[in-house]
C-alpha cells in the first residue's frame, strides 16, 4: 500500500484502493466484534478484568460501536464504491491515488480517533462521541475525498444512464457529509440544551438512514443482478426506494427522544414519518426478492447471494420493528431497553453486515482475479454470523421485554438485573461466535489472495466452481 501513496496515478493497478479497503474493513470488523465480545463478557460477569481504567466498560463501549460503524461498515462501503461505481460506469476509478490515500488516512484517522476515545477523550454524545477535531478530520480527510472520487467516477462514466446503485452511492456520500457537519455542530459552535440533545439524535438517526441503510441496499442492487444474471425486477420501484429514502428517512430523528421535553409537534411529526420508513423498506425488499425469480437455487449454492439475500430478508423484521416501535403506543414500553440494543444489532450486524460481507467477498475475488479459497470456510463464516447474531438478537429482545415489564410494574431495578443475567451470558456467547467467524473469514480471504485459483480473463468469479 505504502509504495502506491507516492506513485503516479497511472502506475497504480486499478482496484488497489478497493483491495486495501476490503482487507482493512475485515480487520476493523475483527477489532470491533472482539471489543463487543469483551464488553458483553463484562455485562455478564462484572468482575471479569477489573480495576483497570482502560479496560472498563465505560471506556470501551463506544470504541466497539464506532470501530464497527466507521471501520467495518463504512470501509466496506468505500470498498464497494471503489469497484462497483467504475464497473457500472464502464470506466476506471476517477483517481486510484486518491482512493489509496483515502484508505491510508481513514485507517490512520480512525485508529487515532478510537485511541483518544478509549482514553476517555469524548464529547459525551452518543454516536458522535469523537471529539470535534477528529470529526473535522473525518469530514474533510475521509468523507469528502470519498464523495469526490465517487461523484467524479460517475461523471466520467462511459455509459449513458446511471444505474440505481450509483444514484445511492452518489447521494449517500454527499448526504453523509451534511449529516456529519450538522450533527457535530453542537461541538463546533457550542450549541447546548435541547438543541444539543436533538442534534445528537438527528445525527444518530441520519447516519443510519442516509448512509448505512441506502448504501447497503445499493450494494444488493448490484450483487443480485450481477451474480444471478437476472435484470433488476423494476427500475420504477428502485426510483420509489430512492426518493422515499430521501424524503421519509431523513425526517424522523426526534422519534429517538420521545420521552424528552422536545416540542410535541416535532415528536408527532417524527413518529408519522417514522412509520413511512416502511415505504422504502417494502420497495427495496420486494424489488430484490422479485429479482431472484428463477434463481433461488443460488441462495443455497452461491456464497455472495446467500449473504445478500439473508441481509435483504433481515430488512423485513428490521423495518417492521423500526417503523412501529417508535410510535407513542409502543415506544414507552421498549425505549431504552435491550429491545433497542437488539434492534440496533439487527440493523448493523443483521441487515447491513450481511450485505457488506457479500460486497467484500465478491469484490475481493473480482479484483484479485482469484476464486474464493474455500466454500466450506465461507459457509462456516456465514453460519457463525447468522447463529451468533440470532442468539444475540433473541436474548436481547427477551431481556428488553423483561426490562419493559419491570418498568411498568415498578419492579425494583436490581430484580430486573437478576432476571436479565442468563440473557447477558447468551449475548456474550452470540457475540463471541461472530468474532470467531470473522477471524476465519480473514484467513479465508488471505488464502484466496495467496492460493485461490486464478480467474481467466473475461470470466466472473461466480462462473467458476468452488474447489474446497
Amino acid at each position: 500500500m505504502f509504495k502506491y501513496l507516492f506513485a503516479k496515478n497511472e502506475d497504480i493497478p486499478p482496484g488497489s484502493a478497493a483491495i486495501f479497503f476490503g482487507f482493512s474493513s475485515i480487520l476493523w470488523f475483527i477489532v470491533g466484534t472482539g471489543l463487543g465480545s469483551f464488553n458483553a463478557a463484562k455485562l455478564a460477569f462484572p468482575d471479569f478484568v477489573t480495576g483497570i481504567e482502560m479496560l472498563s466498560f465505560g471506556h470501551m463501549r463506544q470504541v466497539h460501536v464506532l470501530a464497527v460503524i466507521l471501520g467495518w461498515i463504512s470501509m466496506a462501503f468505500a470498498m464497494a464504491m471503489m469497484y462497483i461505481t467504475p464497473a457500472l460506469g464502464n470506466t476506471k476509478l476517477w483517481s486510484e491515488k486518491l482512493g489509496v490515500w483515502n484508505c491510508f488516512i481513514w485507517n490512520l484517522g480512525l485508529g487515532l480517533g478510537l485511541t483518544l476515545l478509549w482514553f476517555g477523550m469524548s464529547s459525551g454524545r452518543e454516536y458522535s462521541d469523537m471529539i470535534w477535531p477528529i470529526d473535522l478530520a473525518i469530514i474533510f480527510g475521509i468523507l469528502t475525498p470519498l464523495c469526490l472520487n465517487v461523484a467524479m467516477t460517475i461523471k466520467t462514466r462511459r455509459t449513458q444512464g446511471i444505474y440505481t446503485t450509483n444514484w445511492f452511492f452518489g447521494a449517500a456520500t454527499f448526504m453523509v457529509i451534511i449529516v456529519f457537519t450538522v450533527g457535530n455542530s453542537p461541538e463546533f459552535f457550542q450549541l447546548t440544551g435541547l438543541t444539543e440533545a436533538y442534534l445528537t439524535w438527528w445525527f444518530a438517526h441520519n447516519v443510519l438512514g442516509l448512509w448505512i441503510t441506502p448504501v447497503a441496499a445499493a450494494i444488493s442492487y448490484y450483487i443480485v443482478p450481477k451474480v444471478t444474471g437476472n435484470p433488476l425486477y423494476s427500475h420504477r420501484i428502485g426510483h420509489l426506494h430512492f426518493w422515499s429514502v430521501v424524503v421519509f428517512y431523513s425526517t424522523p430523528a426526534a422519534h429517538h427522544l420521545m420521552s424528552s421535553p422536545l416540542p410535541e409537534w416535532l415528536k408527532s411529526f417524527a413518529s408519522v414519518e417514522g412509520v413511512l420508513i416502511l415505504v422504502p423498506a417494502i420497495a427495496f425488499v420486494s424489488n430484490l426478492l422479485l429479482t431472484m425469480t428463477g434463481k433461488w437455487k443460488m441462495f443455497v449454492e452461491n456464497v455472495e447471494i446467500k449473504f445478500t439475500i439473508t441481509g435483504v430478508l433481515m430488512a423485513i423484521p428490521l423495518n417492521m420493528q423500526g417503523g412501529f416501535q417508535q410510535t407513542r403506543a409502543i415506544n414507552w414500553y421498549i425505549h431504552g431497553t435491550g429491545w433497542i440494543v437488539a434492534h440496533a444489532h439487527l440493523a448493523l450486524l443483521g441487515f447491513s453486515t450481511f450485505l457488506e460481507a457479500a460486497a467484500v467477498y465478491y469484490g475481493l475475488q473480482t479484483l484479485l482475479r482469484r476464486k474464493l479459497y474455500s466454500l466450506a470456510l465461507a459457509n462456516f463464516h456465514f453460519w457463525m454470523l447468522l447463529v451468533g447474531f440470532t442468539t444475540y438478537w433473541i436474548s436481547m429482545t427477551i431481556a428488553g421485554l423483561i426490562q419493559g415489564a419491570g418498568k411498568i410494574y415498578e419492579v425494583p431495578y436490581i430484580d430486573v438485573v437478576i432476571a436479565e443475567h442468563p440473557y447477558m451470558i447468551a449475548r456474550w456467547v452470540g457475540g463471541t461466535m461472530v468474532f470467531l467467524g470473522n477471524c476465519v473469514w480473514l484467513f479465508n480471504m488471505w488464502k484466496t489472495m495467496r492460493q485461490g485459483t486464478v480467474i481467466p480473463a473475461g470470466r466472473l468469479p461466480h462462473e467458476l466452481a468452488y474447489e474446497r
Binding site: V247, S260, G336
Partner: protein
C-alpha cells in the same frame, strides 16, 4: 450529465433534501430557542460549567477548569448570617457557562433580568466570579435569573471559599466530566421514560431544564436505574462511596463495574491505598474466609471519586 432527467433529478433532490432539512433543523431550532430557562436549568449549567465533555481547557477530561459549588450561610463579605445560599465559584481562568457567555440562550425574560438585575455582563472570567440563582416576581410570574454576586454583593471567589467548609463544597463540574469520561451514561439514563417510570424514578425534566448544558447525556441504553433524581432517593455519601469502590459491597447482584481506580493513590488522610491488599481481602470475604469486607478508603478532596460522588448526590 448529458441527460435532461439528471438535471431535473438533481434539482428535485435538492428540493426534497432541502425541505427535509428545513422541517427537521430550522423549524425545531427556532422553536427550541424561544424556550425560557427554568430555575433547575440555571442551577445545572452554573454547576457544570462550560462543557461537560472535551474542551480546550480540559482536553484529557481530567475535570480541570471547572467551577466549585458551595452552600453558605454566612455572607462572605460582611460575615453576617444569611439564609442558606448555593453559590457557584468560578476561579480566575475558569470559563463561564453558556448562559453567561451568550445570555440569549436563557430566553427573553431571564436574559433581561440576568443582565439588568443580575449584572452578568460585568463578570470577567480572567478575574473570576461568583454566581447565584435568584427569582423575581413580576406580574404574577416568577422569573429565575443569574446574579453575578461579585458585582452586586462584592463576593470574590477567594472570600466565598474562605467561609465554605469541605462538607459544603461540591465538585459538580468535575464530577460531570467523570460521569461522561467513565461512561456512566452508557447504562444510567438521565431521562425517566413516560408512564410508570415517573412514579419509580421521579418527575420528568421540563422544557427549560437544559438551556446552557452540554452534553445533556440523556443516555439511551438503560441497564441500570435512572439517575435524574438519584440524590433525592439516596443521599448517603457513605453508601455512594462503597458503591463506587465496589458495587458488590452494597448490592451483591449489581453488574456495575468497580470504579476504585478513581480514588487515585492516596486516601483523604494522605495514606497510600493498597489496592492489591484490598482485593485480596475482598476475595477472602467473598470466599467466606473473612467475616467483614475490608474498609473502603475515604476519597481525597481532590480525587476523581469525590467529584463523581458530589455530582451524583446533587442530581435531585
Amino acid at each position: 450529465m448529458a441527460f435532461r432527467e439528471y438535471t431535473i433529478g438533481a434539482r428535485m433532490f435538492g428540493l426534497a433534501f432541502g425541505t427535509s432539512m428545513f422541517i427537521t433543523l430550522y423549524m425545531p431550532a427556532t422553536d427550541i430557542r424561544n424556550v425560557s430557562v427554568t430555575e433547575i436549568g440555571l442551577h445545572r449549567q452554573l454547576g457544570f460549567g462550560r462543557v461537560g465533555g472535551f474542551s480546550y481547557e480540559d482536553p484529557f477530561l481530567k475535570g480541570e477548569a471547572k467551577p466549585q459549588t458551595v452552600d453558605i450561610t454566612t455572607d462572605p463579605k460582611t460575615g453576617a448570617s444569611i439564609e442558606a445560599t448555593r453559590a457557584y465559584v468560578y476561579q480566575a481562568g475558569v470559563p463561564f457557562p453558556n448562559g453567561i457567555r451568550h445570555p440569549i440562550i436563557l430566553g427573553e425574560k431571564p436574559e433581561e433580568k440576568s443582565k439588568n438585575v443580575g449584572k452578568i455582563s460585568q463578570a470577567d472570567d480572567t478575574q473570576g466570579a461568583v454566581f447565584i440563582v435568584r427569582e423575581i416576581d413580576e406580574g404574577g410570574e416568577t422569573i429565575p435569573f443569574i446574579e453575578n454576586a461579585t458585582a452586586t454583593r462584592g463576593w470574590t471567589p477567594a472570600d466565598v471559599m474562605k467561609v465554605a467548609t469541605d462538607e459544603n463544597t461540591y465538585h459538580i463540574g468535575k464530577g460531570k466530566i467523570m460521569f461522561v469520561r467513565e461512561g456512566c451514561w452508557w447504562c444510567h439514563t438521565l431521562l425517566p421514560e413516560q408512564t410508570q417510570d415517573w412514579q419509580y424514578f421521579g418527575a420528568p425534566p421540563m422544557l427549560g431544564d437544559f438551556n446552557g448544558e452540554s452534553p445533556t447525556a440523556f443516555g439511551s441504553d438503560r441497564k441500570a436505574p435512572d439517575l435524574t433524581h438519584v440524590g433525592s432517593r439516596n443521599s448517603s455519601r457513605e453508601w455512594m462511596m462503597m458503591h463506587f469502590f465496589n458495587p458488590r459491597l452494597v448490592q451483591p447482584h449489581s453488574i456495575m463495574p468497580r470504579y476504585d481506580y478513581l480514588w487515585g493513590e492516596n486516601d483523604a488522610s494522605g495514606t497510600p491505598i493498597n489496592y492489591d491488599q484490598w482485593r485480596t481481602e475482598y476475595n477472602q470475604y467473598v470466599a467466606n474466609e473473612r467475616v467483614y469486607p475490608p474498609e473502603v478508603p475515604i476519597p481525597a478532596a481532590e480525587s476523581e471519586a469525590r467529584a463523581l460522588i458530589d455530582f451524583v448526590l446533587n442530581l435531585k
